[in-house]
Protein backbone atom coordinates (compact mmCIF):
# COMPACT_ATOMS: atom_id res chain seq x y z
CA UNK A 1 0.00 0.00 0.00
CA UNK A 2 1.14 3.52 -0.71
CA UNK A 3 2.39 5.12 2.52
CA UNK A 4 1.28 8.56 1.36
CA UNK A 5 -2.27 7.30 1.12
CA UNK A 6 -1.95 5.78 4.57
CA UNK A 7 -0.92 9.04 6.23
CA UNK A 8 -3.54 11.04 4.37
CA UNK A 9 -6.19 10.88 7.14
CA UNK A 10 -3.65 12.04 9.73
CA UNK A 11 -2.44 14.83 7.47
CA UNK A 12 -6.01 15.91 6.67
CA UNK A 13 -7.09 16.12 10.31
CA UNK A 14 -3.96 17.94 11.43
CA UNK A 15 -4.13 20.37 8.50
CA UNK A 16 -7.72 21.20 9.19
CA UNK A 17 -7.71 21.38 12.98
CA UNK A 18 -4.12 22.22 13.84
CA UNK A 19 -2.27 23.99 11.04
CA UNK A 20 -5.34 25.86 9.78
CA UNK A 21 -6.23 27.31 13.20
CA UNK A 22 -2.60 28.33 13.86
CA UNK A 23 -2.52 30.18 10.53
CA UNK A 24 -5.82 31.88 11.39
CA UNK A 25 -4.41 32.99 14.73
CA UNK A 26 -1.34 34.36 12.98
CA UNK A 27 -3.49 36.32 10.52
CA UNK A 28 -5.91 37.62 13.15
CA UNK A 29 -3.04 38.81 15.32
CA UNK A 30 -2.50 41.57 12.76
CA UNK A 31 -6.16 42.58 12.71
CA UNK A 32 -7.77 45.49 14.44
CA UNK A 33 -10.82 45.29 16.66
CA UNK A 34 -13.56 47.42 18.13
CA UNK A 35 -15.64 46.68 21.19
CA UNK A 36 -17.96 44.48 19.21
CA UNK A 37 -16.23 43.19 16.14
CA UNK A 38 -13.03 42.17 14.42
CA UNK A 39 -11.66 44.44 11.70
CA UNK A 40 -9.54 42.72 9.05
CA UNK A 41 -6.42 44.85 8.68
CA UNK A 42 -2.66 44.67 8.79
CA UNK A 43 -1.55 46.53 11.88
CA UNK A 44 1.11 45.86 14.48
CA UNK A 45 -0.78 47.54 17.31
CA UNK A 46 -1.54 44.23 19.06
CA UNK A 47 2.15 43.39 19.24
CA UNK A 48 3.16 46.96 20.13
CA UNK A 49 0.66 46.96 22.98
CA UNK A 50 1.76 43.53 24.11
CA UNK A 51 5.45 44.41 24.28
CA UNK A 52 4.71 47.88 25.62
CA UNK A 53 2.80 46.59 28.61
CA UNK A 54 4.61 45.82 31.84
CA UNK A 55 1.95 43.25 32.63
CA UNK A 56 3.19 41.05 29.80
CA UNK A 57 6.62 40.70 31.33
CA UNK A 58 5.38 40.05 34.84
CA UNK A 59 2.94 37.46 33.52
CA UNK A 60 5.73 35.71 31.62
CA UNK A 61 7.98 35.77 34.67
CA UNK A 62 5.18 34.33 36.77
CA UNK A 63 4.52 31.58 34.23
CA UNK A 64 8.22 30.75 33.96
CA UNK A 65 8.36 30.60 37.74
CA UNK A 66 5.51 28.08 37.81
CA UNK A 67 7.16 26.08 35.05
CA UNK A 68 10.62 26.17 36.62
CA UNK A 69 9.59 25.19 40.14
CA UNK A 70 7.14 22.52 38.98
CA UNK A 71 9.72 21.16 36.56
CA UNK A 72 12.34 20.79 39.27
CA UNK A 73 9.93 19.03 41.63
CA UNK A 74 8.44 16.73 38.99
CA UNK A 75 11.94 15.82 37.83
CA UNK A 76 13.08 15.00 41.35
CA UNK A 77 10.01 12.91 42.15
CA UNK A 78 9.80 11.40 38.67
CA UNK A 79 13.42 10.34 38.64
CA UNK A 80 13.22 8.81 42.10
CA UNK A 81 10.03 6.91 41.34
CA UNK A 82 11.36 5.68 37.99
CA UNK A 83 14.63 4.66 39.64
CA UNK A 84 12.78 2.71 42.29
CA UNK A 85 10.65 0.94 39.70
CA UNK A 86 13.52 0.20 37.32
CA UNK A 87 16.27 -0.84 39.72
CA UNK A 88 14.74 -1.75 43.07
CA UNK A 89 11.63 -3.64 42.01
CA UNK A 90 13.04 -6.91 40.87
CA UNK A 91 10.24 -8.83 39.21
CA UNK A 92 8.75 -7.77 35.88
CA UNK A 93 5.25 -8.50 37.12
CA UNK A 94 5.58 -6.08 40.03
CA UNK A 95 7.23 -3.52 37.79
CA UNK A 96 4.23 -3.59 35.47
CA UNK A 97 1.72 -3.49 38.33
CA UNK A 98 3.39 -0.57 40.11
CA UNK A 99 3.95 1.25 36.83
CA UNK A 100 0.24 0.96 36.04
CA UNK A 101 -0.64 2.18 39.52
CA UNK A 102 1.37 5.31 38.66
CA UNK A 103 -0.27 5.79 35.28
CA UNK A 104 -3.96 5.14 36.02
CA UNK A 105 -4.64 8.70 37.25
CA UNK A 106 -3.49 9.91 33.83
CA UNK A 107 -6.61 8.37 32.34
CA UNK A 108 -8.94 10.15 34.74
CA UNK A 109 -10.16 13.72 34.62
CA UNK A 110 -7.72 16.54 35.38
CA UNK A 111 -10.55 18.79 36.48
CA UNK A 112 -11.70 16.24 39.04
CA UNK A 113 -8.15 15.76 40.23
CA UNK A 114 -7.97 19.51 40.86
CA UNK A 115 -11.32 19.63 42.64
CA UNK A 116 -10.10 16.77 44.80
CA UNK A 117 -7.69 19.09 46.59
CA UNK A 118 -10.51 21.21 48.04
CA UNK A 119 -11.34 18.91 50.98
CA UNK A 120 -7.64 18.40 51.64
CA UNK A 121 -6.27 21.93 51.42
CA UNK A 122 -9.28 24.14 52.24
CA UNK A 123 -9.65 26.28 55.35
CA UNK A 124 -11.56 23.45 57.00
CA UNK A 125 -9.70 20.80 55.08
CA UNK A 126 -7.87 17.74 56.29
CA UNK A 127 -4.47 19.35 56.64
CA UNK A 128 -5.66 22.38 58.57
CA UNK A 129 -7.86 20.25 60.84
CA UNK A 130 -5.00 17.86 61.55
CA UNK A 131 -2.55 20.65 62.30
CA UNK A 132 -5.11 22.42 64.51
CA UNK A 133 -5.95 19.31 66.51
CA UNK A 134 -2.27 18.58 66.98
CA UNK A 135 -1.89 22.10 68.31
CA UNK A 136 0.79 22.92 65.77
CA UNK A 137 -1.06 25.99 64.52
CA UNK A 138 -3.63 28.26 66.15
CA UNK A 139 -5.42 29.49 63.05
CA UNK A 140 -6.06 27.67 59.78
CA UNK A 141 -3.40 28.26 57.13
CA UNK A 142 -4.93 30.29 54.33
CA UNK A 143 -2.35 29.83 51.63
CA UNK A 144 -2.86 26.09 51.15
CA UNK A 145 -5.69 26.54 48.68
CA UNK A 146 -6.20 29.33 46.12
CA UNK A 147 -2.56 30.33 46.09
CA UNK A 148 0.63 29.90 44.09
CA UNK A 149 1.42 27.00 46.37
CA UNK A 150 -1.80 25.26 45.32
CA UNK A 151 -1.05 25.91 41.64
CA UNK A 152 2.38 24.30 41.86
CA UNK A 153 1.05 21.43 43.95
CA UNK A 154 -1.60 20.77 41.31
CA UNK A 155 0.96 20.90 38.50
CA UNK A 156 3.15 18.41 40.34
CA UNK A 157 0.13 16.23 41.04
CA UNK A 158 -1.05 16.29 37.42
CA UNK A 159 2.21 16.12 35.53
CA UNK A 160 4.79 14.09 37.51
CA UNK A 161 3.55 11.14 35.49
CA UNK A 162 4.91 12.74 32.33
CA UNK A 163 8.35 12.49 33.94
CA UNK A 164 7.99 9.01 35.41
CA UNK A 165 7.00 7.29 32.16
CA UNK A 166 9.81 8.45 29.82
CA UNK A 167 12.52 8.27 32.51
CA UNK A 168 11.39 4.76 33.46
CA UNK A 169 11.48 3.85 29.77
CA UNK A 170 15.05 5.16 29.45
CA UNK A 171 16.18 3.37 32.58
CA UNK A 172 14.71 0.05 31.45
CA UNK A 173 16.87 0.26 28.34
CA UNK A 174 20.08 0.59 30.32
CA UNK A 175 22.07 -2.61 29.88
CA UNK A 176 22.46 -4.07 33.37
CA UNK A 177 25.97 -5.24 32.54
CA UNK A 178 27.03 -1.58 32.28
CA UNK A 179 26.10 -1.11 35.93
CA UNK A 180 27.95 -4.27 36.84
CA UNK A 181 31.02 -3.03 35.01
CA UNK A 182 30.86 0.25 36.91
CA UNK A 183 30.61 -1.62 40.19
CA UNK A 184 33.48 -3.90 39.27
CA UNK A 185 35.55 -0.85 38.40
CA UNK A 186 34.99 0.35 41.96
CA UNK A 187 32.18 2.88 41.60
CA UNK A 188 29.95 3.28 44.63
CA UNK A 189 26.17 3.66 44.47
CA UNK A 190 26.21 7.42 44.12
CA UNK A 191 28.86 7.38 41.46
CA UNK A 192 26.86 4.85 39.46
CA UNK A 193 23.77 7.04 39.88
CA UNK A 194 25.45 10.26 38.78
CA UNK A 195 27.91 9.01 36.20
CA UNK A 196 26.08 6.07 34.63
CA UNK A 197 22.33 6.04 35.26
CA UNK A 198 21.90 9.82 35.19
CA UNK A 199 23.49 10.41 31.77
CA UNK A 200 21.84 7.33 30.29
CA UNK A 201 18.43 8.56 31.50
CA UNK A 202 18.89 11.89 29.78
CA UNK A 203 16.60 11.16 26.80
CA UNK A 204 13.77 10.30 29.19
CA UNK A 205 14.42 13.42 31.23
CA UNK A 206 14.37 15.51 28.03
CA UNK A 207 11.05 14.05 26.87
CA UNK A 208 9.52 14.49 30.32
CA UNK A 209 10.78 18.07 30.41
CA UNK A 210 9.24 18.81 27.00
CA UNK A 211 5.86 17.60 28.25
CA UNK A 212 5.93 19.31 31.63
CA UNK A 213 7.28 22.64 30.38
CA UNK A 214 4.97 22.93 27.38
CA UNK A 215 1.90 21.88 29.38
CA UNK A 216 2.61 24.43 32.11
CA UNK A 217 3.65 27.28 29.80
CA UNK A 218 0.31 27.09 27.99
CA UNK A 219 -1.85 26.32 30.99
CA UNK A 220 -4.75 28.48 32.02
CA UNK A 221 -7.18 26.07 33.68
CA UNK A 222 -4.98 24.93 36.54
CA UNK A 223 -3.71 28.42 37.35
CA UNK A 224 -7.21 29.88 37.24
CA UNK A 225 -8.80 27.14 39.32
CA UNK A 226 -6.08 26.55 41.89
CA UNK A 227 -5.15 30.18 42.47
CA UNK A 228 -8.81 31.12 42.69
CA UNK A 229 -8.22 33.74 40.02
CA UNK A 230 -5.54 35.45 42.11
CA UNK A 231 -2.52 34.52 40.06
CA UNK A 232 -1.80 35.11 36.40
CA UNK A 233 -0.16 33.09 33.68
CA UNK A 234 0.24 33.76 29.98
CA UNK A 235 -2.72 31.50 29.28
CA UNK A 236 -4.91 33.18 31.87
CA UNK A 237 -4.08 36.63 30.45
CA UNK A 238 -4.86 35.41 26.95
CA UNK A 239 -8.12 33.85 28.00
CA UNK A 240 -9.05 37.09 29.74
CA UNK A 241 -8.56 39.08 26.53
CA UNK A 242 -10.53 36.46 24.67
CA UNK A 243 -13.39 36.79 27.16
CA UNK A 244 -13.38 40.55 26.50
CA UNK A 245 -13.74 39.67 22.80
CA UNK A 246 -10.32 41.19 22.05
CA UNK A 247 -9.51 38.31 19.75
CA UNK A 248 -6.67 40.01 17.82
CA UNK A 249 -4.92 40.92 21.08
CA UNK A 250 -5.37 37.36 22.34
CA UNK A 251 -4.06 36.09 18.99
CA UNK A 252 -0.92 38.22 19.26
CA UNK A 253 -0.42 36.80 22.77
CA UNK A 254 -0.86 33.33 21.34
CA UNK A 255 1.70 33.87 18.58
CA UNK A 256 4.34 35.04 21.06
CA UNK A 257 3.56 32.18 23.43
CA UNK A 258 3.83 29.73 20.55
CA UNK A 259 7.24 31.11 19.60
CA UNK A 260 8.45 30.92 23.21
CA UNK A 261 7.23 27.35 23.71
CA UNK A 262 8.49 26.09 20.35
CA UNK A 263 11.92 27.66 20.99
CA UNK A 264 12.15 25.95 24.37
CA UNK A 265 11.09 22.63 22.88
CA UNK A 266 13.40 22.98 19.88
CA UNK A 267 16.34 23.40 22.24
CA UNK A 268 15.27 20.33 24.22
CA UNK A 269 14.69 18.29 21.05
CA UNK A 270 18.34 18.73 20.12
CA UNK A 271 19.27 16.50 23.01
CA UNK A 272 17.00 13.62 22.07
CA UNK A 273 15.72 11.64 19.10
CA UNK A 274 12.12 11.01 20.07
CA UNK A 275 11.40 8.35 17.46
CA UNK A 276 14.29 6.21 18.61
CA UNK A 277 13.28 6.48 22.23
CA UNK A 278 9.83 5.00 21.83
Amino acid sequence: MNPKLQVLPLLAILSLFFIGPIIIIFIVSFWDYTEFSLVPDFVFTNYVELFGSKVTYSVYINTLKFAGISWAITLLIGFTVAYFLAFHVRSLRWQIVLFLVCTIPFWTSNIIRMIAWIPVLGRNGLINKTLLSLGLIENPIDWLLYSDFAVILAFVHLYTLFMVVPIFNSMMRIDRSVLEAARDAGANGFQILFHVIGPLSRPGIAIGTIFVVSLIMGDFVTVQAMSGGQSASVGVAMNHKRALLQYPAAAADAVILLIVVLTMVAILMRTVNIRKEL
Binding site: P3, V7, N110, I112, V120, A250
Partner: protein, 283 residues
Protein backbone atom coordinates in the same frame (compact mmCIF):
# COMPACT_ATOMS: atom_id res chain seq x y z
CA UNK B 1 17.51 -14.96 41.61
CA UNK B 2 14.66 -12.75 42.70
CA UNK B 3 13.69 -13.94 46.10
CA UNK B 4 16.97 -15.43 47.13
CA UNK B 5 18.89 -12.16 46.70
CA UNK B 6 20.08 -11.37 50.20
CA UNK B 7 19.40 -8.32 52.33
CA UNK B 8 17.93 -5.29 50.64
CA UNK B 9 19.90 -2.11 51.13
CA UNK B 10 18.75 0.81 53.26
CA UNK B 11 18.20 2.86 50.14
CA UNK B 12 15.63 0.30 48.99
CA UNK B 13 13.53 0.87 52.08
CA UNK B 14 13.89 4.64 51.88
CA UNK B 15 12.82 4.63 48.27
CA UNK B 16 9.97 2.24 48.93
CA UNK B 17 8.68 4.67 51.54
CA UNK B 18 9.10 7.54 49.09
CA UNK B 19 7.19 5.58 46.48
CA UNK B 20 4.39 4.81 48.94
CA UNK B 21 4.08 8.50 49.83
CA UNK B 22 3.97 9.35 46.14
CA UNK B 23 1.10 6.90 45.62
CA UNK B 24 -0.77 8.38 48.58
CA UNK B 25 -0.19 11.84 47.12
CA UNK B 26 -1.48 10.59 43.76
CA UNK B 27 -4.61 8.85 45.02
CA UNK B 28 -5.31 10.49 48.41
CA UNK B 29 -7.27 13.54 47.22
CA UNK B 30 -9.45 11.46 44.87
CA UNK B 31 -10.11 9.01 47.70
CA UNK B 32 -11.16 11.96 49.87
CA UNK B 33 -13.80 13.19 47.42
CA UNK B 34 -15.07 9.68 46.79
CA UNK B 35 -15.66 9.28 50.52
CA UNK B 36 -17.15 12.76 50.84
CA UNK B 37 -19.57 12.19 47.97
CA UNK B 38 -21.44 9.85 50.32
CA UNK B 39 -21.75 12.71 52.80
CA UNK B 40 -24.96 12.78 54.87
CA UNK B 41 -27.77 15.19 53.92
CA UNK B 42 -26.58 17.80 56.41
CA UNK B 43 -22.91 17.40 55.63
CA UNK B 44 -20.66 19.88 53.90
CA UNK B 45 -17.68 20.01 51.58
CA UNK B 46 -15.13 18.89 54.16
CA UNK B 47 -14.62 16.16 56.68
CA UNK B 48 -15.98 14.88 59.00
CA UNK B 49 -18.72 12.80 57.45
CA UNK B 50 -22.11 13.78 58.84
CA UNK B 51 -23.72 10.42 58.34
CA UNK B 52 -23.98 8.63 55.03
CA UNK B 53 -26.35 9.16 52.15
CA UNK B 54 -26.78 8.96 48.41
CA UNK B 55 -28.51 12.34 48.40
CA UNK B 56 -25.80 14.05 46.36
CA UNK B 57 -25.93 11.42 43.67
CA UNK B 58 -29.71 11.82 43.39
CA UNK B 59 -29.23 15.58 43.10
CA UNK B 60 -27.24 14.97 39.96
CA UNK B 61 -30.09 13.24 38.20
CA UNK B 62 -32.80 15.28 39.87
CA UNK B 63 -34.44 18.54 38.93
CA UNK B 64 -31.56 19.85 36.82
CA UNK B 65 -30.42 21.84 39.82
CA UNK B 66 -26.77 21.38 39.05
CA UNK B 67 -26.48 22.05 35.38
CA UNK B 68 -27.18 19.74 32.52
CA UNK B 69 -25.32 16.72 33.76
CA UNK B 70 -27.13 13.97 31.87
CA UNK B 71 -26.96 15.55 28.41
CA UNK B 72 -23.31 16.58 28.73
CA UNK B 73 -22.40 13.13 30.02
CA UNK B 74 -24.09 11.54 27.02
CA UNK B 75 -22.38 13.93 24.62
CA UNK B 76 -18.99 13.16 26.13
CA UNK B 77 -19.57 9.41 25.92
CA UNK B 78 -20.55 9.61 22.24
CA UNK B 79 -17.73 11.99 21.40
CA UNK B 80 -15.14 9.89 23.24
CA UNK B 81 -16.31 6.77 21.41
CA UNK B 82 -16.06 8.47 18.01
CA UNK B 83 -12.66 9.93 18.83
CA UNK B 84 -11.50 6.52 20.05
CA UNK B 85 -12.50 4.77 16.81
CA UNK B 86 -10.98 7.48 14.61
CA UNK B 87 -7.78 7.55 16.69
CA UNK B 88 -7.27 3.81 16.36
CA UNK B 89 -7.82 3.71 12.60
CA UNK B 90 -5.93 6.88 11.71
CA UNK B 91 -2.99 6.04 14.00
CA UNK B 92 -2.77 2.47 12.75
CA UNK B 93 -2.86 3.62 9.15
CA UNK B 94 -0.20 6.27 9.74
CA UNK B 95 1.86 3.86 11.85
CA UNK B 96 1.89 1.38 8.95
CA UNK B 97 2.96 4.14 6.58
CA UNK B 98 5.89 5.08 8.80
CA UNK B 99 7.38 1.62 8.43
CA UNK B 100 8.30 2.65 4.91
CA UNK B 101 10.13 5.69 3.63
CA UNK B 102 8.09 8.46 2.08
CA UNK B 103 8.55 12.08 1.22
CA UNK B 104 8.06 14.64 4.01
CA UNK B 105 7.70 11.88 6.60
CA UNK B 106 9.97 13.85 8.94
CA UNK B 107 7.96 17.03 8.49
CA UNK B 108 4.68 15.27 9.18
CA UNK B 109 6.18 13.65 12.26
CA UNK B 110 7.24 17.03 13.63
CA UNK B 111 3.83 18.50 12.85
CA UNK B 112 2.25 15.65 14.80
CA UNK B 113 4.55 16.18 17.78
CA UNK B 114 3.88 19.92 17.56
CA UNK B 115 0.15 19.23 17.73
CA UNK B 116 0.82 17.59 21.09
CA UNK B 117 2.98 20.28 22.63
CA UNK B 118 1.38 23.45 21.25
CA UNK B 119 -0.51 25.07 24.13
CA UNK B 120 -4.11 23.93 24.13
CA UNK B 121 -5.41 27.46 24.34
CA UNK B 122 -4.00 28.13 20.85
CA UNK B 123 -5.82 25.16 19.39
CA UNK B 124 -9.12 26.04 20.97
CA UNK B 125 -8.83 29.75 20.15
CA UNK B 126 -7.75 28.99 16.59
CA UNK B 127 -10.50 26.47 15.90
CA UNK B 128 -13.10 28.79 17.42
CA UNK B 129 -11.90 31.68 15.26
CA UNK B 130 -11.64 29.55 12.14
CA UNK B 131 -15.20 28.25 12.39
CA UNK B 132 -16.45 31.73 13.20
CA UNK B 133 -14.67 33.24 10.18
CA UNK B 134 -15.92 30.52 7.87
CA UNK B 135 -19.44 31.22 9.05
CA UNK B 136 -19.80 27.75 10.54
CA UNK B 137 -21.29 27.08 13.91
CA UNK B 138 -18.99 25.29 16.34
CA UNK B 139 -20.41 21.94 17.39
CA UNK B 140 -19.04 19.32 19.75
CA UNK B 141 -19.19 16.68 17.00
CA UNK B 142 -17.42 18.81 14.36
CA UNK B 143 -15.01 21.45 15.67
CA UNK B 144 -15.02 19.83 19.11
CA UNK B 145 -14.09 16.45 17.70
CA UNK B 146 -11.35 18.03 15.60
CA UNK B 147 -9.90 19.69 18.68
CA UNK B 148 -9.86 16.35 20.51
CA UNK B 149 -8.17 14.59 17.60
CA UNK B 150 -5.28 17.10 17.68
CA UNK B 151 -4.68 15.78 21.19
CA UNK B 152 -5.32 12.04 20.78
CA UNK B 153 -3.70 11.43 17.37
CA UNK B 154 -0.16 12.39 18.44
CA UNK B 155 -0.43 9.97 21.37
CA UNK B 156 -1.79 7.35 18.98
CA UNK B 157 1.04 7.79 16.50
CA UNK B 158 3.73 7.77 19.22
CA UNK B 159 2.30 4.53 20.58
CA UNK B 160 2.26 3.06 17.06
CA UNK B 161 5.96 3.90 16.76
CA UNK B 162 6.61 2.16 20.06
CA UNK B 163 4.66 -0.86 18.81
CA UNK B 164 6.37 -1.16 15.44
CA UNK B 165 9.83 -0.53 16.91
CA UNK B 166 9.31 -3.84 18.72
CA UNK B 167 7.60 -5.61 15.86
CA UNK B 168 9.36 -8.56 14.28
CA UNK B 169 8.85 -8.41 10.53
CA UNK B 170 9.63 -12.09 9.92
CA UNK B 171 6.00 -13.08 10.50
CA UNK B 172 4.57 -10.90 7.79
CA UNK B 173 7.43 -11.83 5.49
CA UNK B 174 6.58 -15.47 6.05
CA UNK B 175 2.94 -14.73 5.31
CA UNK B 176 3.87 -12.88 2.14
CA UNK B 177 6.11 -15.74 1.05
CA UNK B 178 3.13 -18.03 1.49
CA UNK B 179 1.17 -15.83 -0.88
CA UNK B 180 -0.84 -13.60 1.43
CA UNK B 181 -2.12 -10.35 -0.05
CA UNK B 182 -1.22 -7.08 1.75
CA UNK B 183 -4.73 -6.99 3.16
CA UNK B 184 -4.47 -10.58 4.41
CA UNK B 185 -1.13 -9.79 6.04
CA UNK B 186 -2.70 -6.86 7.85
CA UNK B 187 -5.84 -8.72 8.81
CA UNK B 188 -4.43 -12.13 9.79
CA UNK B 189 -0.84 -11.38 10.84
CA UNK B 190 -0.22 -7.80 11.94
CA UNK B 191 -3.53 -7.01 13.63
CA UNK B 192 -3.62 -10.13 15.83
CA UNK B 193 -0.03 -9.54 16.92
CA UNK B 194 -0.45 -5.87 17.79
CA UNK B 195 -4.06 -6.25 18.94
CA UNK B 196 -3.40 -5.74 22.66
CA UNK B 197 -1.43 -2.58 21.92
CA UNK B 198 -4.24 -1.27 19.73
CA UNK B 199 -6.54 -1.61 22.72
CA UNK B 200 -4.04 0.63 24.50
CA UNK B 201 -4.40 3.20 21.72
CA UNK B 202 -8.18 2.95 22.07
CA UNK B 203 -7.88 3.51 25.83
CA UNK B 204 -5.86 6.67 25.22
CA UNK B 205 -8.29 7.85 22.56
CA UNK B 206 -11.35 7.40 24.74
CA UNK B 207 -10.06 8.71 28.06
CA UNK B 208 -8.15 11.67 26.63
CA UNK B 209 -11.28 12.79 24.80
CA UNK B 210 -13.64 12.02 27.67
CA UNK B 211 -11.58 14.18 30.05
CA UNK B 212 -10.48 16.86 27.61
CA UNK B 213 -11.04 20.39 28.81
CA UNK B 214 -8.56 22.99 27.56
CA UNK B 215 -8.87 22.27 23.84
CA UNK B 216 -12.66 21.96 24.06
CA UNK B 217 -13.30 25.29 25.71
CA UNK B 218 -13.86 27.47 22.63
CA UNK B 219 -14.29 24.66 20.13
CA UNK B 220 -17.39 22.73 21.22
CA UNK B 221 -19.93 25.48 20.71
CA UNK B 222 -23.04 26.06 22.80
CA UNK B 223 -23.50 22.49 24.07
CA UNK B 224 -20.97 21.59 26.74
CA UNK B 225 -19.08 18.35 27.06
CA UNK B 226 -18.86 16.88 30.56
CA UNK B 227 -15.52 18.38 31.69
CA UNK B 228 -16.70 21.85 30.66
CA UNK B 229 -19.93 21.31 32.58
CA UNK B 230 -17.98 20.16 35.63
CA UNK B 231 -15.66 23.15 35.45
CA UNK B 232 -18.65 25.45 35.33
CA UNK B 233 -20.00 23.76 38.44
CA UNK B 234 -16.80 24.30 40.41
CA UNK B 235 -17.71 27.95 40.74
CA UNK B 236 -21.46 27.58 41.21
CA UNK B 237 -21.98 24.37 43.14
CA UNK B 238 -21.02 24.45 46.81
CA UNK B 239 -22.44 21.12 47.93
CA UNK B 240 -21.03 17.59 47.87
CA UNK B 241 -22.89 17.15 44.57
CA UNK B 242 -19.66 18.29 43.02
CA UNK B 243 -17.91 15.34 44.63
CA UNK B 244 -20.67 12.96 43.55
CA UNK B 245 -20.01 14.11 40.03
CA UNK B 246 -16.29 13.52 40.55
CA UNK B 247 -16.94 10.04 41.91
CA UNK B 248 -19.19 9.15 39.01
CA UNK B 249 -16.81 10.46 36.35
CA UNK B 250 -13.88 8.70 37.96
CA UNK B 251 -15.92 5.48 38.14
CA UNK B 252 -16.58 5.71 34.40
CA UNK B 253 -12.88 6.30 33.70
CA UNK B 254 -11.87 3.39 35.95
CA UNK B 255 -14.45 1.15 34.28
CA UNK B 256 -13.03 2.02 30.86
CA UNK B 257 -9.49 1.35 32.10
CA UNK B 258 -10.63 -1.94 33.66
CA UNK B 259 -12.38 -3.08 30.48
CA UNK B 260 -9.33 -2.18 28.39
CA UNK B 261 -6.98 -4.11 30.65
CA UNK B 262 -9.32 -7.10 30.65
CA UNK B 263 -9.48 -7.08 26.85
CA UNK B 264 -5.69 -6.75 26.67
CA UNK B 265 -5.24 -9.74 28.98
CA UNK B 266 -7.70 -11.84 26.96
CA UNK B 267 -6.02 -10.91 23.68
CA UNK B 268 -2.57 -11.60 25.13
CA UNK B 269 -3.70 -15.03 26.29
CA UNK B 270 -5.21 -15.85 22.95
CA UNK B 271 -2.09 -14.69 21.20
CA UNK B 272 0.08 -16.77 23.43
CA UNK B 273 -2.08 -19.81 22.79
CA UNK B 274 -1.42 -19.34 19.11
CA UNK B 275 2.25 -19.53 19.96
CA UNK B 276 4.16 -16.39 19.08
CA UNK B 277 5.82 -13.73 21.16
CA UNK B 278 6.36 -11.15 18.45
CA UNK B 279 5.53 -7.57 19.14
CA UNK B 280 5.95 -8.05 22.84
CA UNK B 281 5.91 -4.60 24.40
CA UNK B 282 5.05 -2.73 27.53
CA UNK B 283 2.20 -0.69 26.15
Amino acid sequence: MLKSTPNRSVSFYLMAIFFAIFIIFLYGPIAAIIVLSFQGPEGGLTFPLNGLSLKWFFELFGEQRVGDFKASFLRSMILASLVMILTVFISLSAGLAYRKKFQFSGTLFYITVASLIVPSILITLGIGLMFDRMGLESKWYTSGMGAHLTWTLPFGLLIMFAIFNRFDKVYEEAARDLGASPWQVLRYVITPIIGPSLVGVALFGFTLSFDEFARSLLAVGAQNTLPLEIFGMTTTVTTPTLYALGTLTTAVSLAIIGISFAVIVVLEKRRRRHGTDAGKGMI
